[in-house]
Amino acid sequence: MITTFLDIVISGLLMGGIYALIAVGLSLQYGVARVLNISHGEFIMIGAFGTYILYKTAGVNPILTLAICGPVLFLIGFFLYKTLFKILLAFSDSAEIFEGKSLLASFGLLFIIQNIAILIWGADIKSYSFLNIGVDLGGALFPANRMVTLLFAVVISMTFYLFLAFTRMGKAIRAAAQNPRIAGLMGVNINQVLALCFGFGALMASFAGGLLSMCYPITTTMGMEYTVIAIIVVVLGGLDSIVGSFIGGFLLGIVGSIVTYIEPGLALVAYYAIFIILLLVRPTGILGK
């Protein structure tokens, strides 16, 4: 009984780590830069394939590839905001119009990125074996690669949280999240901060993708699934709360693992049911104001 319980909770936490990382990225992009990035999952996919390619062709340790793919995707995200979304922002009369337009633009981006990825990497399912050894945790066996994943997800999120809490740039980001106009008046270079946030979102997606590829098979069409999970988690945690997204990720992971234990076919149904009920009952999320 206790072993089963542990089993469910631990596998929930392992999945939850990835969810948290994905959601923190989206939360940055939506909570601060006001772009509900439907192509978030595509950045995860690029991160996953980057890791896969580097490991397969050059033999780079998948954990090291995080440090290679991350910055590249950060730059892509940064310049994407500087070009595409900045123009959109300039043409939009209100914040709501910008949110609608940027959502659609990111939908277009999804098409573009996915198509390019299919052209380069094909549409087959790919996987590699990394640290695939069992670790005994209180009577239940868990693969070591998932433990690494969880560890890195927590470390990355914590580091980012400390960055937000204690650095000048972190303070500027938080100010921009609260009120971009006033933050701008207070001397925050607002365009730079919003672009940085979008870049950080892409960075998180890349990390998440790299970690995912260590444990699960990857395809070029995997993005949408994770985008949707990210949206659910972000709503769960409150649309503009980064801490909320982090906690929400683990919560959803555990819920998912409980439901999977009872009836595997219902896991996604449960996610969407939680999502819909939450939006109706408490649209500001568990930690929202």
Partner: protein
């Protein structure tokens, strides 16, 4: 010539043009065969979805990503009762089922503002799709269903009929006090409520009427698909495409969404047949470019150029 006769003359020309187009469309299957009708069916599906979407979202500013939900409900209605009832009744039931779903959804959610409404409606589509998939596999033991087959000409005439009805409904709403109420909600909802507009009632009703047409076109479309499963019926493509087409054409006028849907559907057909590998790439690029450089849509852009040309003429004379 004074201004009123000029106006009535202009509207007379418009009505003649619309009337002629409809006569041509009605007789089209009799003088062409094969592909033209199939293409027009695809175009009509998206035109109806886009126009229905604009009916609610274009004027109120609430971005609904629910078209796939209502479209899918229509498709499933057709699969469930299509073999039992005569087809016109199936179409009507498909529309009504979506209508009722929209009233429920609308009453529950229209207090959600901005992006919350968009992601709620998006989640709704996915919830229905996954629940239905679970139900089909667990209870009926199959993944999909077969739908009754009809010939393309019949499908075409049903689509055309729904399109005409939708056009009439949109026109009537636009030129009634309800249209005015809708636009006032879109501009400033609180002010609309204060001036005596039954904000919730008007929103829910319009949402439901637009859903009726999406459901109806879905139940006709099912017969063209012939085989359906939850992910074919509730594909998110049907949610995003109408929005993209409306933005591309321009939501300010009645013909903007029609032109947008027609052009993009035609483009999609060409790209899929000729450049299948890069179809998504080109389509995505066009979508992004349209959002970036055509803020008022294609129609708004053309109107702007037209106005500029006109002004130049005035200055010259």
């Amino acid at each position: 010539m004074d201004i009123t006769t000029l106006k009535s003359k202009k509207s007379l020309i418009w009505w003649t043009v619309i009337f002629t187009i409809f006569i041509l469309l009605i007789f089209l299957p009799f003088y062409t065969q094969g592909y033209a009708v199939v293409l027009l069916i695809s175009i009509l599906v998206y035109v109806i979805l886009t126009l229905s979407w604009v009916m609610f979202s274009g004027s109120t500013g609430y971005m609904s990503l629910a078209p796939a939900a209502f479209f899918g409900v229509g498709i499933y209605t057709s699969a469930l009762i299509g073999k039992v009832f005569p087809f016109p009744i199936t179409v009507l039931v498909g529309g009504m089922a979506s209508f009722i779903l929209a009233i429920l959804v609308g009453a529950l959610t229209l207090r959600l503002k901005g992006i919350y409404f968009a992601i709620f409606t998006f989640g709704l589509v996915m919830l229905i799709a996954y629940s239905l998939l679970f139900f089909e596999i667990q209870v009926t033991g199959t993944r999909g269903r077969f739908v009754i087959v009809m010939d393309y000409n019949t499908i075409y005439f049903y689509m055309l009929g729904i399109f005409m009805l939708l056009l009439l409904t949109t026109y009537l709403i636009k030129n009634s006090k309800y249209g005015l109420a809708l636009r006032s909600i879109g501009q400033e909802e609180d002010a609309a409520a204060h001036t005596g507009v039954n904000v919730v009632g008007v929103k829910v009703m319009t949402f439901a009427i637009s859903a009726f047409f999406m459901g109806a076109v879905g139940s006709v479309m099912a017969t063209k698909l012939t085989y359906i499963d939850p992910f074919i019926a509730f594909s998110t493509t049907y949610s995003f495409m109408p929005v993209a087409m409306a933005i591309f054409g321009g939501t300010g006028s009645l013909y903007g969404p029609i032109i947008g849907a027609a052009i993009l559907t035609y483009l999609e057909e060409i790209l899929i047949t000729k450049f299948a590998e890069v179809y998504m790439l080109i389509f995505g690029a066009i979508l992004v470019a349209a959002i970036l450089y055509l803020p008022d849509g294609l129609v708004g852009f053309i109107q702007k150029i037209w106005r500029r040309l006109m002004e130049r003429n005035h200055v010259d004379t």
